[in-house]
């Protein structure tokens, strides 16, 4: 059953009734698509972000770090990637977080698993995929995002790159960790604030993204891109990842475009690999990471991510194709 059927009816009514656009016309399809998708996505976002924020209030980074310190390769990487999903993370805190982790004995590879998973598998990305493609694709994205983080962290850990971390990081003195105890009322206030923050930040992207999506939906023939980027083109995946890495957009901006690309015949794996690269890797993030990692480590980090994401993209295309 479609939970959003009333919204769809409302969008159709507004488009064809109130605005009086001819049914079946390109303009009509675009407008109806826009009017249906915008409230649907915003509604989903608000509800799930609230729930996620409540969960997050129980996982301050101090707790996550305590769970991960002295952890081993493999097990530690799996735990770090999973905790990366529930621990609140903002790229502006990446430096203190990184230092806090390695200082207290979280292995470098495990720290990287956390740092890859945290932005990649975030609630905004997963909700949007859920809203536009259903639970199978959302689940596939989540699992493969975790896989990229785990594999990437293990490879980085095996390379013993501790000397490629900026020296001052190891000399840093870390103060006693502070954990804020929250009351239930504070948790709710935190979650409400979080919803305001995320939805407030993300809604213009949703409008623009769905707007672009709506135009393409109405005006570009289905499968127009299939010729270039279906699963038969072996270069499509690495190229998509290469394009996606420097691009910076949050999940909200990219998913609507993703949905259109899929609609127009680009293979699912190619598109999801593109999305992972856009969401998880970006130039601003590299600038921040460069503060704690020497250039060589940063280069290795980017390279490993490129290969793991590309591999996942091929796998998707193979599984779904």
């Amino acid at each position: 059953m479609n939970l959003f059927a009333p919204l769809e009816g409302l969008a159709d009514w507004l488009t064809y009734g109130v605005l009086n656009i001819a049914e079946g016309s390109r303009l009509g399809e675009s407008v109806a698509f826009f009017l249906y998708d915008v409230p649907k996505i915003l509604l989903l976002l608000a509800v799930v972000v609230f729930a996620v924020a409540i969960v997050r209030s129980y996982f301050p980074p101090e707790r996550t770090r305590a769970l991960l310190s002295d952890s081993r390769l493999y097990v530690g990487n799996v735990a770090a990637a999973s905790l990366g999903v529930v621990t609140p993370f903002c790229s502006c805190s990446a430096v203190p977080l990184f230092i806090g982790f390695v200082e207290s004995g979280v292995p470098l590879g495990v720290t990287f698993s956390f740092l890859i998973a945290s932005p990649m598998v975030n609630e905004v990305a997963v909700i949007l995929l859920l809203g536009m493609f259903g639970w199978k694709i959302a689940l596939l994205y989540t699992v493969s995002g975790l896989a990229v983080a785990i594999v990437g962290g293990i490879v980085l850990g095996r390379l013993n790159l501790e000397h490629q971390v900026e020296d001052y990081v190891w000399e840093m003195r870390m103060g006693e960790a502070h954990v804020e105890r929250m009351t239930r009322a504070e948790r709710y206030a935190y979650a409400r604030g979080y919803v305001r923050e995320i939805v407030g930040k993300v809604w213009p992207y949703v409008l623009v993204g769905i707007g672009i999506g709506a135009v393409m939906h109405g005006y570009i023939p289905t499968d127009a891109l299939a010729r270039y980027a279906d699963s038969g083109n072996p270069l499509a995946v690495p190229l998509a990842v290469l394009f996606g890495i420097p691009l910076y957009a949050n999940a909200a901006g990219v998913v609507p475009i993703v949905s259109v690309l899929v609609d127009k015949g680009v293979a699912m794996g190619t598109v999801l690999a593109f999305m992972m690269a856009v969401v998880a890797l970006s130039v601003p993030e590299f600038v921040i990471l460069r503060k704690v990692a020497k250039p060589k480590l940063l280069g290795i980090f980017i390279t490993i991510n490129f290969f793991t994401i590309t591999a996942i993209g091929y796998m998707f295309n193979w599984v779904l194709g």
Partner: protein
């Protein structure tokens, strides 16, 4: 008292500083407000999530931006 806002210049850190300054002004609190962006100093407080609010050397809040009134409440404790 000495109020330090720890943050590396992200937008949320500036929001917290704003809230603190407003709270200090609104409730006429006698305090000096400083914005600390030095990573070494931030780490010395054991903070991993910016922005953070430190009052007279004690970390009272990390990783979120509370309302002006909540800041005032924290400061009055």
């Amino acid at each position: 008292m000495l109020i330090e806002v720890l943050g590396s210049g992200c937008s949320k850190c500036n929001e917290l500083e704003d809230a603190v300054r407003k709270a200090v002004a609104r409730y006429d609190i006698d305090a000096r407000v400083e914005h600390v962006s030095d990573i070494e100093k931030i780490m010395s407080y054991g903070v991993m999530m910016t922005p953070a609010l430190v009052v007279d050397g004690e970390v009272l809040l990390t990783g979120r931006v509370p309302s002006v009134d909540e800041v005032a409440q924290i400061l009055k404790r």
